[in-house]
Each structure stands twice: as C-alpha cells, then as structure tokens.
C-alpha cells in the first residue's frame, strides 16, 4: 500500500466508512495478533490485546497525519499496548541465568532429537523467550514481524543505531543459547 493509498484509506475511515477499517484489518490484524501473542503467550489475552489495539487505532486515526507510514504508526500503538500488558502482568519468572541454563542444557542434551524441524523451531522459540525483553522485542519486530530497522526504531521509540546494536547482541546471545545449529540448505556467501 502506497502512502497515498494509506492516506485515502485513513480519510475513508475518518469519514465513517467501516469497510475501509476492515481493509485496514485485512492488512494488519494477523501481524498485530501475532505480536500480541508474543507478549501474552495466551490466545484469549492476545485477542483482548489485539482488540484493544485496534480500538485505540480507530479512535486515534483522527490524529494520524501521514507523517509516518500507517504500518509504523500502528506498530507503535501496538507496542505501547503490548508493553503495557507486560508491565501489568508482572509474571514471576525464573532468574534469567536459570532459564538460560535450562534451555542450553536441554538443547545440547539430545542433539539427535532436535533434528526434527518442528522441534528446532521450538528450540529457537525457547531461545528467543530467554532473551532479555529489550533483545526479544527487536527480534520479534524485525525477524518475526519483518519490520525494517527504521520501523522497529519508530515502534520502540529508540534510535536506529540502538536497534542495530540490540539485534547484533540478541543474535550473539541466541548463538550462545542454541549452540550447534540449525538446518541444512542455506547457501553460503
């Protein structure tokens, strides 16, 4: 969707056109839901947060001026809600070091079983969940949601350089967590 298309879409929504808002949902509902699911780890919670996000998006669309891409703006709203959810929940979690120890031990304990691709994904998933929130957020937004560095920076309200360094550090951490890796088939440079 071009910026012009986005502006027209927003104008139609501002004029009360519900079908236009459904078009917006077509483009962003799945992505926002997946993001919410990352933060909530629960389908009912993810649905609630997704609903809150789109309600906030709808209410705030009157203030959207098209200075940034619509997607970037939506992600920023979404991240605010997701981080708020994380803040409220305050889950009791294991100290980070203990979690890492568990995952690392598990991963290296039985390398043959980890041959299964689905299990590999689960390992990657577990490793991502062991990252610090700051590192996990950039991984989720860039690697899983496909945002550019610039878009991630806007969503997290941090400089692009910070996104770059966090990603680099996050991957270094994942490398340490995952150890020998991963699937065959990727060409080398």
């Amino acid at each position: 969707m071009t910026m012009r298309d986005e502006r027209q879409l927003v104008q139609r929504i501002q004029a009360g056109n519900r079908e236009a808002f459904e078009e917006l949902l077509d483009s962003y509902e799945t992505r926002v839901y997946r993001l919410a699911l990352r933060f909530t780890d629960s389908i009912p919670d993810a649905e609630d947060v997704t609903q809150e996000i789109f309600l906030a998006v709808y209410k705030s669309l009157g203030n959207f001026r098209g200075n940034s891409a619509l997607g970037t703006w939506i992600y920023r709203v979404a991240m605010n809600h997701c981080l708020e959810f994380r803040r409220k929940r305050r889950l009791e979690t294991l100290p980070l070091d203990e979690e890492i120890a568990l995952v690392t031990q598990d991963w290296r304990h039985d390398p043959v079983q980890s041959a299964d691709r689905r299990e590999l994904a689960a390992k990657v998933e577990a490793a991502i969940n062991c990252l610090s929130p700051l590192h996990r957020d950039v991984i989720v937004l860039h690697e899983l949601q496909g945002l550019t560095y610039q878009e991630v920076a806007a969503a997290l309200d941090v400089p692009v350089g910070t996104v770059k360094s966090r990603l680099s550090n996050a991957f270094r951490r994942l490398r340490d967590l995952l150890g020998g890796y991963v699937h065959e088939g990727s060409p080398t440079i």
Binding site: N63, R117, I128, L144, V158, V182, S186
Partner: protein, 390 residues
Amino acid sequence: MSPTRPDNLPETPSTRRPARCVGGLLKTNLKAHLDGEMSAVRNWLVRWHLAQCAECREELRWLRRLGEDMKDIESARPRPELRARILANLPSTPPAPGIRVVHSRQDLVRSPQRMPRLALAGGLAMLVLFSAAYAVKRSSDATVAQQNSLTVALHNDKSTEIASSVPQANADVTPTVAYVPEDDPNNALADKMFHERMTEMEREKQILGQDDWHRLLAKARAVARKTDKTPATEMGIALTVSNIAIIRTHLPTWAKQEGVRLVTSGKTDPDSSDNTPLLRSRTGESLDNLIAFYVPAERGPAFLGALKHLGQISILPLTANPVPSTNLKNETHLQVEADVAGQRRAVPAFPMTADSGTPTQRVAVAHDKSSSTARVLVVTVLLLQTAAHD
C-alpha cells in the same frame, strides 16, 4: 525441508573460535550487513573483510540460517471471531480529525521541519514539550535555537511546527505535553487547556510534600516488615534520565553535601556505546540512565525540597501527561538491583499504586546553565522504594 542433524552441521562460531577475529568491529556489523541496513561504504568494508575471514563467513552463514528459521516459526492466525469482536466494539462515531497531541521527544526530533541536525548535535535547546501554548505565536518558521533561550516546539494540526523562544528568565516554565487544537484561531481553547494543565500540575507538585513522605515511609516500613522484618531507615528514589552526562556531572557532589547516597553503579549496558555503568533490573532489562538516591528517612522531606530546588534539576509532575512512551511504561515496574549497605541485592519495589494516592512518575528536567540552554528532557519514573537497611 530435510530433517536436520545438528551434529553434522558446521560448528557454531562461538564453539570453535579460539582467537578473536581481527575484524572484530566489522563482526558486529554482520547482522546489519545481512539485512541490507548498512551504508555502501560499510557494506564494502564488510565484504572486503569477509573475503579474507573464514570465521566471519561462517558467522554470516549462521546468522542467515537462524534468520531463515525464525521466519518459519510465526504461523499463528487470529480466529475469525476476533474480527467480529473488533468491529462490534468500534465506537459509533467515526474518528474525525481533531486535536493533535505532540507526545514525545522523538516526535519532535523526527519531524521534517526540524532544526538542523548539527544544531541538535551542538547541544542546543531541548525539544521539550512546553505548554506555553498561550505564549506561542503561530508561525511556520522552523525552530531556531537561540542562545539564552529555551525552545518551545509545538505542532499544529497540519504538523507544521510552531516555534517560539522563551527567554531564559522564564526557564522555569513548566514542561508538559503540548496540545494544539486544530481549529482554534484565537487560541482560546489552547489557553483553556494550558490553564487547566497548569492548575493540575500545581496541585500535583504539592503531593510529594512532607506529609506524603511520612505517609509513604510508614507504608514502606510496613512493606519491609512483611518482607524481611528489617525496618527501613532509608528510602530509595530512582530516576531515569535521558542525558545522564549532565546528571552525573552535577549530582555526586550535591548528593554528598545533602548526605544522601547516590547509586549509579551496575553492569555495563551491552548496547551502550559508552561505558557508562548502569543499574540492571532483575529481569535482565537494562535500566538506561538510571540513578538512585538513598535518603535517610528523617531527611526525606528536606531532600525532596532540595531536589526540587536544585539549580539543575527540577522535579515536575508527569502523571497527568498522556505520554504513550514505551520507555516510560516499561520502566515503572522494574525491580531495581542496587548496592545496598555494601551488598548487591534486589531492592524491593514499593508499589505506588492508586491506593497510596501518590503518583509514581515525575519529570526531571536538567537545565544546563553553562550553555544557557535546557538540554535534557526527561523524565521519569520516580519509584519510592524501601531500602531494607542493616
């Protein structure tokens, strides 16, 4: 995709790297290189290095593989009922264009009609959201930072920056979020909103007074009794600031004079470009630019008064500000690990919830008098904590 046998795969770089790659600095750029997020020059440097370094080539290969596998793990899809729920709960009134809220420093910095970057880099005026709406002349001129002045930056509904300068004599004008109504030719609505905001802030300024300190201290001690039965003799006040350099320049001497302990030590943030020691939360989150004071209980009110009137720092309310800052929201719940009584330990957070009747957030603004400009917008969360003290 064929099943994978990790034991047949190339070793991960971390397991077989006996010595540091000579291109260590470039190595940190491999991820950005892979993502095509580097300048042409840096790209060229990385490629040049890759041609010579087998270790980095392998690391790049590893990064690419992991990235590809990550793309496969996101497969959840929302149930159709969710769409129906969202649509059913939309307000009946359309989101018509209305008031624009300038809600963060980032917004100001990123806006296209901004002061030149060099000017920013020169440490000029902070682009704080001053609510001097009534004093602001509507103008489409770009902000020009002036010596001996503070910059007011507001936006109107068309995102045109409205800028004005406030003389240094008025530097204590209270920063807040600026609202610029869309259609308000006489600024009547802006005046009204500004007045309401100021009244609200003045009221909140009183909250952290002597009575509040004693009330909070009593509550903090109750919390301490419940946790480790050690009565608190100090209370910790943690602030995060956006420009720690100024804070660190000014505060240590002052804290010593005031008889309070200032804590800024901690693990170094791996993402920080400098080596500023920082505190870190128990959950691993880096607490960028966080400082903490530990104040003897009996000195609390005096300390707060001093903090408020310190030349470089003013503590101002934030709670009324609808600032959707991810950083802010993220920081309010952090468990702080700090050096307490010579030991590194987690500081039990004192929950400043509604029932305590006291807001948790304040804005601190550092005025750098040496350059006659206010450089720091900041912010933040004032957590009152018990410091279970031996």
